[in-house]
């Protein structure tokens, strides 16, 4: 009898854990380019992301065209969104199991922009509550890492390193 109870409890915990996914469809990712000539900023509020609370795996998907610039010209398009409509990040949140309340951690993973994959380490603030996870932070990428070609005419207006900031608020995923 005892064995059955233990088994039942075990099974229950496993099935509960299996549903332990958190997601957002309206995450915010922005990027900034600062130069002496011009500051450029673009916002994307339609970021999709899922965290698997079992192991801290995280997937982030971004539609390039959802970035909103101040100037229309910048919308089109050194990033070639017709060929590469999405940017994808896949990684793991370090020490995910031991995190509760506000802490800092790192996410290690692969960022794919324009079909080019790069390993990145992202420092993030993480807040984990029962029905909520939020990630907030920023990191920088080099334009040259993703083979983004900037026309000579505007080369002074666009920085060689782009700052990317993110603010993602997850809720439990109901399937």
């Amino acid at each position: 009898m005892k064995i059955y109870t233990t088994l039942l409890v075990l099974l229950l915990t496993i099935s509960i854990n299996a549903q332990d996914k958190y997601f957002t469809k309206s995450g915010n990712v922005s990027f900034f380019s600062y130069t002496l000539v011009e500051d450029i900023k673009a916002d994307n509020n339609q970021v999709l992301s899922i965290i698997d609370a079992k192991n801290g795996e995280i997937v982030i998907k971004i539609l390039m065209r959802s970035f909103q610039f101040k100037k229309a010209l910048m919308q089109e398009n050194y990033i070639e969104s017709h060929k590469y409509p999405k940017a994808i990040f896949k990684g793991t949140i370090n020490n995910f199991e031991t995190l509760d309340e506000i802490k800092e951690t790192e996410i290690i993973g692969k960022l794919t922009i324009r079909g080019i994959e790069k390993e990145v380490i992202i420092k993030t603030n993480i807040e984990r509550q029962k029905n909520k996870i939020s990630l907030k932070g920023d990191f920088s990428v080099k334009v040259s890492d993703f083979d983004i070609k900037i026309p000579a005419v505007v080369s002074k207006n666009i920085s060689r390193t782009i700052k990317i900031s993110f603010d993602l608020n997850y809720k439990p995923y109901k399937s």
């Binding site: 309206s26 509020n45 999709l48 065209r65 229309a72 010209l73 409509p85």
Partner: protein, 134 residues
Amino acid sequence: MKVKIIIGILITFIIVIFLGIKQYNKPHIDVSKTAANYKLSTNELIKEFIIDENIADKKFANKIVEINGTILEISTTNGKGIVTLAGNEANVICQLNEKENKKIMQLKKDQNIIIKGQCSGYLMDIMLVNCIIK
């Protein structure tokens, strides 16, 4: 004679610079004043993306789409109104243009609505940006 040529060159130069700056600063498409490239229902749009995402992406990307559908959810993120239209296999998430934010107060769940916006593609749902409510 020489003076005239110099003035001519100068004027051309100024015009070129002026046009260049104007081009660089040109405004975004005004969705409300631009005719829709496609008019269809929420489910018709979703179906095209589910059948073949690549083809649908090429067809609808950055195009102005006018869709009619039923409101599933109304919310705001970062000061931007978001209206989600219900579909069978996915939804359509419409991020409103800032000028439209006031209208969000009058909207209700399950209400039928026509929304016009720029299609930016498909993740789990179809995304529209720069939307206006008709």
